[in-house]
């Protein structure tokens, strides 16, 4: 569904990605793990059209999308939940969700979609009229995910959804991610520093180190891999 080939990206004057190739199969959950600064966020930002590629290609549903501006990428059906959530702090929860639906043409169906995200995250319904900046970190993450869902994506990219969230909520968020994948049939590309958790919920994983893919395999195999164990899973 989504295919990155020999992707190279500069971040300022630094080469942030070198020849990154990865494939996200339709209907699956693929995770990209790696240390801080390995280039995980850069990869997602490039797919979303926020960063320009130096060379290489990004193909989505068979079409080249690497030259498209960010708003066209969303239009194609790829939505991103950015690192740090980036909710619109001075808009209400409801307005945040409406912004997620910015490109939707079928505006008469929005009521139904509000219901369906509230079904996944009931807590947001109670807070619909509240200004988003007053939500807790976990609630903001739920809002960021819901907002991304409002554009009806076929492919959802999540950047560090566990970052800055109370440990009890992290588990919930990851369950919801699996639920979104299973019940809504949305393909997921998940970037995570918490490799344990990410490999647990995903089907296939890539390991990124200083801008290069050094390893990729099914998640079960990666969890058994000695190198991954010592470097990313706490070395037990």
């Amino acid at each position: 569904m989504l295919e990155l080939k020999d992707l190279a990206v500069n971040y300022g004057s630094i080469n942030a990605l070198h020849d990154v190739s990865l494939t996200v199969a339709k209907g699956g959950i693929v995770t990209l793990i790696g240390a801080n600064g390995a280039g995980k966020s850069t990869t997602l930002r490039t797919v979303s059209g926020l960063l320009k590629t130096r060379h290489g290609s990004i193909r989505y549903e068979g079409e080249e999308i690497s030259h498209l501006p960010a708003h066209r990428i969303v239009q194609r059906g790829i939505s991103q939940v950015p690192e740090g959530r980036m909710i619109f702090a001075n808009l209400t929860v409801r307005e945040n969700l409406l912004m997620g639906a910015y490109l939707r043409k079928d505006r008469n169906k929005l009521g139904h979609d509000f219901d369906s995200v509230f079904e996944i995250f009931p807590r947001l319904k109670e807070r619909a009229k509240q200004v988003a900046g007053t939500l807790s970190g976990g609630e903001q993450q739920m809002l960021a995910i819901s907002r991304a869902l409002m554009s009806k994506p076929r492919c959802l990219m999540l950047d560090e959804p566990s970052l800055g969230i109370a440990p009890i909520l992290v588990k919930t968020i990851f369950q919801k991610i699996v639920e979104i994948n299973r019940s809504l049939g949305i393909t997921i590309l998940l970037v995570e520093q918490n490799a344990n958790l990410a490999l647990e919920v995903s089907h296939y994983g890539y390991v990124l180190e200083t801008g290069r893919i050094i390893l990729h395999d099914k998640c079960d195999a990666l969890r058994a891999n000695e190198k991954v164990k010592s470097a990313y899973l706490g070395g037990h």
Binding site: A70, H71, P82, M86, I87, A89, M99, Y102, L103
Partner: protein
């Protein structure tokens, strides 16, 4: 100062403040989406006054009988459209190519655009002051006792209120208005929502410039001598008003404009009347010392 005199000065101050508010809104909205001060904004206000000057004699004679009141309204609307187009064009030609450059580059370009409009204006319109035509009969309203309220003051007040209400509705209720708020909140997230950032920025410039154009006409009705440099002082004062209210905040710009207008008028009526123009800048220094974020502004920690 007697109470009648006090109320009279208050009315004068409010009507002056309304002009500042209309101009200040443009500064604050552009700052909201682009984080830079469009110093050419005061000159769009001047162009607005000149639009009124050239449009009125050509349009007003066509509105006779019961259509007469529609004449000034048409002049106002056309002026706002022309100024909106001018604002959008300035952004496209001068600022957009520099979007990824340091803010200082864009700021200096804005000063360049301002000078271009001022001296281009002198070249095209002539440098000497022109007397602005009467768009409507200017007389004092009756039944206000010892107070003097003129028809132009009343009209300017009504138009300002209508524009402020319309702006609030646009920003709060429409899709583009929401996109504007989202963009000013977080540009990256706005792009990730599928918002075409260029369109929203054009829209913002159009909206702000239309308000400045309207302010130009209303201002020229009350102070009917116009020249190509007339935008300089009101422009800078409106900038002070926007900072006073909290740059980036729409209600802040409106309130800041009103406060500045009232304070200035009272100083003008006092023994210190020669310091009238200095008051805006003293106010700026005081705000920057005491509350740099302004009345409605929030301190935004600089991300590193």
């Amino acid at each position: 100062m007697s109470s009648t005199e006090f109320i009279q000065q208050l009315i004068n101050g409010l009507s002056l403040g309304a002009f500042y508010a209309l101009i200040a809104l443009g500064y604050t909205m552009v700052y909201g989406v682009l984080r830079f001060i469009n110093f050419a904004h005061g000159d769009v206000f001047m162009i607005g006054a000149f639009c009124g000057y050239y449009l009125s004699p050509r349009l007003l004679p066509h509105f006779t009988g019961w259509l007469t009141p529609l004449g000034p309204v048409t002049v106002l609307i056309l002026t706002m459209l022309i100024c909106a187009l001018l604002g959008i064009t300035i952004e496209k030609l001068a600022y957009r190519p520099l979007r990824s450059r340091p803010k200082l580059t864009v700021l200096i370009t804005a000063i360049g655009v301002s000078l271009f409009l001022e001296y281009g204006g002198q070249f095209v319109f002539g440098a000497d002051p022109k007397s602005f035509p009467e768009l409507m009969p200017d007389r004092a309203l009756e039944g206000t006792g010892a107070l003097t309220i003129t028809t132009t003051q009343l009209a300017a007040f009504i138009v300002t209120v209508i524009l402020l209400v319309a702006l609030t509705l646009i920003v709060k209720r429409t899709r583009l208005g929401m996109a504007m708020r989202a963009l000013s909140n977080n540009p990256t997230a706005a792009a990730l929502m599928g918002i075409n950032v260029d369109t929203v920025i054009s829209f913002t410039f159009g909206l702000g410039s239309a308000l400045a154009g309207a302010a130009g006409i209303l201002f020229a009705l009350s102070y009917p001598s116009i020249d190509p440099l007339m935008g300089l002082l009101p422009g800078i004062k409106a900038f002070v008003a926007a900072v006073l209210g909290g740059i980036g905040s729409i209600p802040g710009a409106a309130i800041g404009g009103i406060i500045l207008g009232v304070v200035e008028t009272f100083v003008g009526a006092s023994a210190f009347s020669t310091y009238r123009d200095a008051i805006a800048f003293s106010l700026l220094i005081v705000i920057l010392l005491v509350r740099p974020a302004g009345i409605f502004g929030r301190v935004q920690p600089e991300k590193v």
